[in-house]
């Protein structure tokens, strides 16, 4: 499972960098981008095992990006996990409604992020 490719999408530079560092330390191959359009452009070639995406981003948000991924037969097998603000409970349901496979609340916990990602990757429907 370590060595799998993770695509992180977040417009917040600090969160993007920290997530990148933590997941690399966990042994994943990480690609980090700051907007959804760039992420969608990269997916066909990168074909990541999992996408970790912020919900609220300028331009195309994480929800619209997820809808496009899950609506595309060539991409819909990719696990998409939303990053939601812990104070915004309604975002969690919106993420699931958009097709996300789950969500992780921010601020990210550097202790548990790796194991959370591994759990999502180990789900039977993510194979």
């Amino acid at each position: 499972m370590a060595g799998e490719t993770i695509l992180v999408v977040d417009d917040a530079t600090v969160n993007l960098k920290l997530t990148d560092i933590v997941l690399r330390k966990e042994g994943f191959r990480v690609h980090a981008v700051a907007d959804a359009e760039q992420a969608l452009h990269m997916i066909p070639e990168l074909h990541p095992s999992l996408i970790l995406a912020d919900i609220q981003m300028p331009g195309m948000d994480g929800l619209e990006m997820t809808r496009r991924i899950k609506g595309n037969p060539a991409m819909r097998d990719i696990v998409v996990v939303a990053l939601t603000a812990c104070a915004m409970k309604e975002d969690e349901q919106r993420a699931l409604d958009a097709g996300c496979d789950g969500y992780i609340t921010k601020p990210i916990d550097t202790h548990t992020l790796g194991s959370q990602i591994r759990e999502y990757l180990a789900r039977p429907d993510s194979m």
């Binding site: 417009d11 917040a12 530079t13 600090v14 969160n15 960098k17 920290l18 560092i21 609220q56 300028p58 603000a85 104070a87 921010k106 601020p107 990210i108 916990d109 550097t110 202790h111």
Partner: protein, 130 residues
Amino acid sequence: MTPEPRRQGAVAERETQELWKLPDSLLEFVDSGDEEMIVEILTLFQHDSAERLRDLNVALANKDRDAIRKQAHTLKGAALQVGAMALSSVCLQLEKHADRTPEPELLELVCRAWEYYERTCREMLQAYHT
């Protein structure tokens, strides 16, 4: 002397928590000898937050409440991640009240965000020379 009337609205919710405390999960990187990574994250936070605060000023000048809410949301998340609790809290107020708070109160909240940002940077400088 007549007591000052209690203020209502977003500005009345004065933050009470401490200014900045590196979260335990990040402190572990320091303890394991990876202080360089913390310095990199804090430096990024300082640069990115200054840019977003300048964007907040522009949004306020343009009376663009949607932009105020979005910038405050992103700044709040970054501040929370590095333990800048007071800045995160005032950004939460901005995000929650951007749509209906009178402009003078929004201005006061943005000024307070700048104040907390600058004080947080000073503390970071003392602690990690960033």
